[in-house]
């Protein structure tokens, strides 16, 4: 997996434009995205959670700041220290590492987070994570 910073975005989905909006914020600043995982957290409010791995380039911070003040975005968390661990589900079991194969599903889990920096509409907070 390419090196970068793992980001967690929480926001309210209305239609897929929500995802375009998140991705576009990085695109406009030429910040590459290497991986994304999107899911609906809450059926009632349509709260969505996006994890993504973005290039750790000088514009990264600007992208985060801009995203954190975008309509529909609740908050943006930078998961400091996070590394993506690779796993493969072959239909029967989950094993560590990437195993390409027909029907295999490769997924990633952010781990080793040591600090979460949260940005939301001009507010910034930091939380040290003791466990890994």
């Amino acid at each position: 997996m390419i090196q970068g910073k793992v980001v967690r975005v929480l926001g309210y989905y209305r239609d897929p434009a929500f995802i375009e909006k998140v991705v576009g914020t990085f695109r406009k600043l030429w910040v590459d995205i290497y991986w994304m995982s999107v899911r609906r957290v809450d059926d009632k409010t349509n709260l969505y959670e996006i994890y993504l791995l973005a290039a750790d380039v000088p514009n990264f911070k600007t992208a985060i700041l801009n995203l954190s003040k975008t309509v529909e975005i609740e908050k943006v968390e930078v998961l400091e220290g996070a590394k993506l661990l690779e796993y493969t589900f072959d239909g029967l079991k989950i094993t560590e590492g990437k195993r390409e194969g027909n029907g295999n599903y490769v997924f990633f889990i952010p781990a080793n987070i040591n600090k979460i920096i949260t940005y939301s509409w001009g507010e910034k907070s930091e939380q040290d994570i003791l466990r890994q």
Binding site: G11, Y12, R14, D15, A17, E20, K21, G24, K28, T45, N46, K61, T62, L65, N66, S68, K69, V71, E72, I73, E74, S120, W121, G122, E123, K124
Partner: protein
């Protein structure tokens, strides 16, 4: 059972809308049908613009002149896409505009239908927010939300895209929301931090060479009085960003002009040489600070008051950042400065800045006997129109002359596309401003190139009896590009010069407007005086030599300290 189209109109009226700038077409015409009675009984005014870009600029001009969101509408497809330039212009200058676009029916969306455009895809990255209505019940809330989002926090344009089949649907009961509700949107908080206020006050009181930089945020928070009070308490010179000119009476003895790329050298110099810089309501754009490193290297103390906290993290180190409404924070800062109760004599610093102003004036205010000089044209206009007249500009050399030489005397009376630099802004923005403030004289300072981009809206101004006055600095060239070609690209002049067409007097008259040719300052004054008595728009053509430069300027990519103040062609 009201139809969707009626609900749209009622929702707009509930937000206080009295004027809509737009053009009807297949997908928004049901909204027009719904406001037929409202227009005929005078509750709503519709102004038929001649291009949707102009509708957006007019709504923008309305908003900037009044402080209330301007509203524009366009049909689907080309109508909506024509709004793009106007909306991004409003976004870059933090102006609250609400655009209602018609959309093809829901069943046709995404199928390359006739006059279909992906409005959300196109608009969401060039507006503060874009929403597509999915069903009729959403209309009341989302129109309320649109006005809330447009006018709160950092203001900006919002698009509400409504499929036309929804306009034709009906419902029994309309639920009108009391309050907006936008998931994932919050206004920036105003944070009163006593520790920061005390530190900021101490820095300012102890400073030898303070400067206050005023930006657009002062206009939107109506904090002019507070800025002046603080400046006078500290005897601190004030400079502004280009759009921030409109926040401060430019004849105030502590004001030294707008700084930046085409700003006054003394204003740039005051900022560079200050020991404490207080920035109020500015996003620190690359037009104001052409090199962030230049500021960083000077290691001056910088205090920033801004509605958007993220702006302070993008440019250079801010020592004390205070976030929120400028008026509220300035009031607190004034109290904190008063508490320290210490006066410092800064007359030496003031005199120094004043001396720079006097020194550079020798370069600005030059005269010759064979052509009209831009500074003097602007002086004649300033001396002829009322103090509270509203002035708009197009984009080009004339705009830069206005930046340096136009004296804004009342807040909200200078409207210019400063962030996006959109040619064609001036005239339709003047229409919008005049509609918002019919009691004011409204003058569009324009260039020949810029005016021709939206000048066809003279027809609208004539039909709607909107007597705005356009003064065209006619140099038969795209002067700002020409200047760069001449000075910095080896005099390779290409693709900029105009021929003799059009004759601006005949052009104006062909629309039913008044046309004037002012070839002397006396003729200009006479034409302005006559134009102010008319109930039709006027175009006053003022010839300016093609070779006239917009100075001061910077070489491309240069620092503020590298300003060119005199004509480099003469020195060579």
């Amino acid at each position: 059972m009201p139809k969707g189209s009626r609900i749209i109109v009622d929702a707009l009226k509930r937000e206080g809308v009295k004027v809509i700038f737009g053009i009807p077409g297949l997908s928004n015409m049901y909204m027009y049908d719904a406001f037929y009675e409202d227009v005929n009984n005078g509750e709503l005014r519709h102004i038929l613009m001649k291009h949707e870009q102009a509708a957006a600029h007019a709504a923008d001009g309305f908003a900037r002149a009044s402080g209330f969101p301007g509203v524009c509408t366009a049909t689907s497809g080309p109508g909506a896409t024509n709004l793009v330039t106007g909306l991004i212009t409003a976004y870059w200058d933090s102006s609250p505009v609400v655009a209602i676009t018609g959309q093809v029916p829901r069943s046709s969306i995404g199928k390359m239908a006739f006059q279909e455009a992906d409005v959300v895809g196109i608009m969401q990255h060039i507006t503060k927010y874009t929403i597509q209505i999915k069903n009729i019940r959403e209309i009341p809330l989302w129109i309320k939300n649109a006005f809330y989002v447009a006018s709160s926090g950092r203001p900006g344009p919002v698009v509400v895209d409504i499929p036309r089949d929804i306009m034709l649907e009906s419902i029994d009961n309309v639920e009108w929301p009391d309050k907006p509700y936008v998931p994932g949107y919050r206004e920036f908080r105003t944070v009163i931090d006593p520790v920061k206020l005390k530190r900021a006050a101490e820095l300012l009181v102890e400073s030898e060479k303070p400067v206050i930089l005023v930006g657009t945020g002062v206009i939107w928070s109506m904090a002019t009085k507070e800025v002046l009070e603080l400046a006078e308490m500290l005897m601190a010179p004030m400079v502004s960003t280009f759009p921030g000119k409109s926040a401060i009476p430019n004849d105030h003895p502590l004001y030294f002009g707008s700084m930046g790329y085409y700003g006054r050298v003394e204003a740039n110099k005051a900022v560079l040489e200050s020991d404490v810089l207080l920035i109020v309501g500015s996003r620190l754009s690359d037009r104001t600070f052409t090199s962030y490193n230049e500021i960083e290297e000077l290691k001056k103390k910088i205090i920033m008051i801004n509605i958007d906290p993220t702006d302070s993290e993008k440019a250079f180190t801010i020592d004390i950042a205070m976030y929120g409404d400028a008026k509220i924070i300035l009031r607190e800062l004034i109290k904190a400065v008063s508490l320290i109760a210490k006066k410092k004599d800064r007359s030496g610093w003031y005199r120094k800045v004043k001396e720079w102003q006097e020194y550079y004036s020798k370069f600005y205010y030059t005269e010759d006997h064979y052509s009209m000089k831009p500074w003097k044209i602007l002086k004649v206009i300033r001396n002829t129109i009322p103090r509270d007249a509203i002035v708009t500009t197009g984009v080009g050399e004339h705009q830069m002359w206005a930046e340096v030489f136009w004296e804004v005397l009342e807040p909200r009376t200078f409207l210019s596309s400063t962030g996006m630099g959109t040619m064609g802004f001036g005239f339709p923005a003047a229409i919008g401003a005049k509609v918002a403030r019919p009691d004011k004289v409204v003058v569009d300072l324009d260039g020949d190139g810029s005016f021709l981009m939206t000048g066809n809206n003279l027809a609208t101004a004539v039909d709607e009896k909107i007597p705005v006055i356009s003064v065209i600095f006619d140099n038969r060239t795209l002067g700002l590009v020409r200047q760069v070609q001449e000075l910095f690209l080896g005099n390779r002049i290409v693709g900029v010069d105009f021929g003799p067409s059009p004759d601006f007097v005949k052009y104006a008259e062909s629309f039913g407007a008044a046309g004037f040719n002012a070839e002397t300052y006396e003729e200009l004054e006479k034409a302005l005086k006559e134009a102010m008595t008319l109930d039709i728009p006027s175009v006053i053509r003022v010839p300016v030599p093609r070779e006239e430069l917009a100075l001061p300027t910077l070489p491309p990519g240069a620092k503020l300290s590298q300003a060119i103040v005199s004509d480099p062609r003469k020195s060579s």
